[in-house]
Amino acid sequence: MTAQARSRIPGAVPETPVSSGKLNVERIRADFPILKLNVAGRPLVYLDNAASSQMPQPVIDRLVRYQTEQHANIHRGVHYLSETATAAYEESRRKIQHFINAREDREVIFTSGTTEAVNLVMHGFGRKFLTAGDEVILTTLEHHSNIVPWQMLRDEKGIKIRVVPINDAGEFLIDEYEKLFNERTRFVGVMHVSNALGTVNPVKAMIAYAHARGVPVLVDGAQAAPHLKVDVQDLDCDFYAFSGHKLCGPTGIGILYGKAVQLERMQPFKGGGDMILSVSFEKTAYNAIPYKFEAGTPPIAAAIGLGAAVDYLLALGMDAIATHEHELLEYATAQVSGMPGVRIVGTARHKSAVLSFTIAGVHPHDVGTLLNQDGVAVRTGHHCAQPVMQRFSIPATSRASFAFYNTMGEVDALVAGIRNVQKVFG
């Protein structure tokens, strides 16, 4: 870490470790204009990356270039701009195909985000193939976006939802999962990495177990795609969902990967233009995948921006990103777990860059407001995972979540901020 980085954080202790240096974090930070902001008179310490991560200049530039030189509607015109925009949009699809190692580009569907991707699967697969009494397995860790759609299906069809419990560390045990299977099990929805606790789930083994029983699996990868190397063929998942805005890309765009065999037998989710081959009032023939699931004009700029974001991450290397974030998490965990009155919620053996914690006697919302006064941005609340909060009998936590552009000095700022909270409430 450079002297300049150190001086950002007043009171940074000399023993702050230096990261192993696979990433040149100071140079990377220069790519992110927003990280130069001051908040409440202090340098911004942005530790809310699990909610939304920041966008580097090359992605911003790509959006500007699209909008200034390439914009037109796609798949519709024979003119120059429409062809340029269509080519850029489809090129972005192929970038994402390679990012997750999908077999074919038509297995990559642009959605508005993870939430829409899950809803697409619920409508396209669940409403078509599930009937009363069928069972869907979810986990206690799920984000509301992978719970509520299935409850809607339950209310509509009379399916049953079974939930894998978690232990005190925030992990679920694979045999608890296996016990939930029976002859009515038709579908599994599981998150790859928990947004509330950081737990990395053994999805590959879970998928193998489900497939041995002919049960397809949807993986919510919203918190995994930004931090780990994702290989959908190696996982062998049927569906994989993630969001652009957590991946240094734009909001309003996300991905549903689906195996071609699944997507082809599913029904469309939304009806409209682009998703049809021919329409008459008697009969409409649907387009081939992926277009069958991309009705109407998509967020073209955002889709192209997501392609640029993926380029940016791949240039850094997902392994180097994971290594640096792991060092941040280890350092933060060591620092915070030593603080009296502070409890880390979520202590799984395999964790990604999330540190959820509570401070004795202080509500997380007060923690968040006070940390903000030190320029430190964390998320406080239930993290759209109320069943997880119920499991730990707490209303909410404060959550610091890291990205590859965070520094050890910023961890120090978090720790100093927590100390200040304790002083105010002392």
Partner: protein, 162 residues
């Protein structure tokens, strides 16, 4: 903009640590529940009204310091007062928290409650401060002594949905 640090003043921290009128009432005539799903704040308010007089008031629940201190100071303020006085305070407090009332300028009866003026610069915390007051308003309008009326509370929905 007021220094948000000023929000966590000693008065507020003290009411958070030792909330007044914390508990239940054996003789409650009106109750209501207030809930802020955004941060999980949840309070139950019980009133003992005799005619228009607030003979007793108590609250319970789990909430952040801002909400708890606001509830504690509210109960201390309205106890022994009339319903009309409390309704006036509800309106003034709400106006102060949302920035419609500048406590340095206009006429008001908020007294020590002006320590909450700083929340208007923290939009996500405005609801925390107002929740007890909305719940009091709901309790006045509850028809029985059970809390199941909370769902019909006209002030409940705007808080919950925001």
């Amino acid at each position: 903009m007021a220094d948000p640090k000023a929000l966590y003043q000693e008065v507020i921290l003290d009411h958070n640590r030792k909330p007044r009128n914390f508990g239940t009432l054996s003789q409650a005539s009106h109750t209501a529940e207030g809930h802020n799903p955004l941060c999980g704040d949840h309070i139950t308010l019980a009133l003992e009204l005799r005619g228009d007089a607030i003979e007793g008031i108590a609250f319970q629940g789990e909430s952040c310091a801002i909400c708890k201190a606001s509830a504690s100071m509210m109960t201390a303020m309205v106890k022994g007062k009339t319903r009309q006085t409390a309704e006036t305070l509800i309106k003034e407090f709400r106006d102060m928290a949302t920035g419609a009332l500048d406590v340095g300028q206009g006429d008001h009866h908020l007294g020590r409650l002006t320590v909450f003026a700083g929340v208007r610069d923290l939009p996500t915390r405005v609801k925390c401060a107002i929740l007890p007051w909305h719940t009091l308003h709901a309790a006045f309008n509850s028809v029985s002594s059970t809390s199941t009326e909370a769902g019909d509370d006209p002030m409940h929905a705007p808080i919950g949905d925001a």
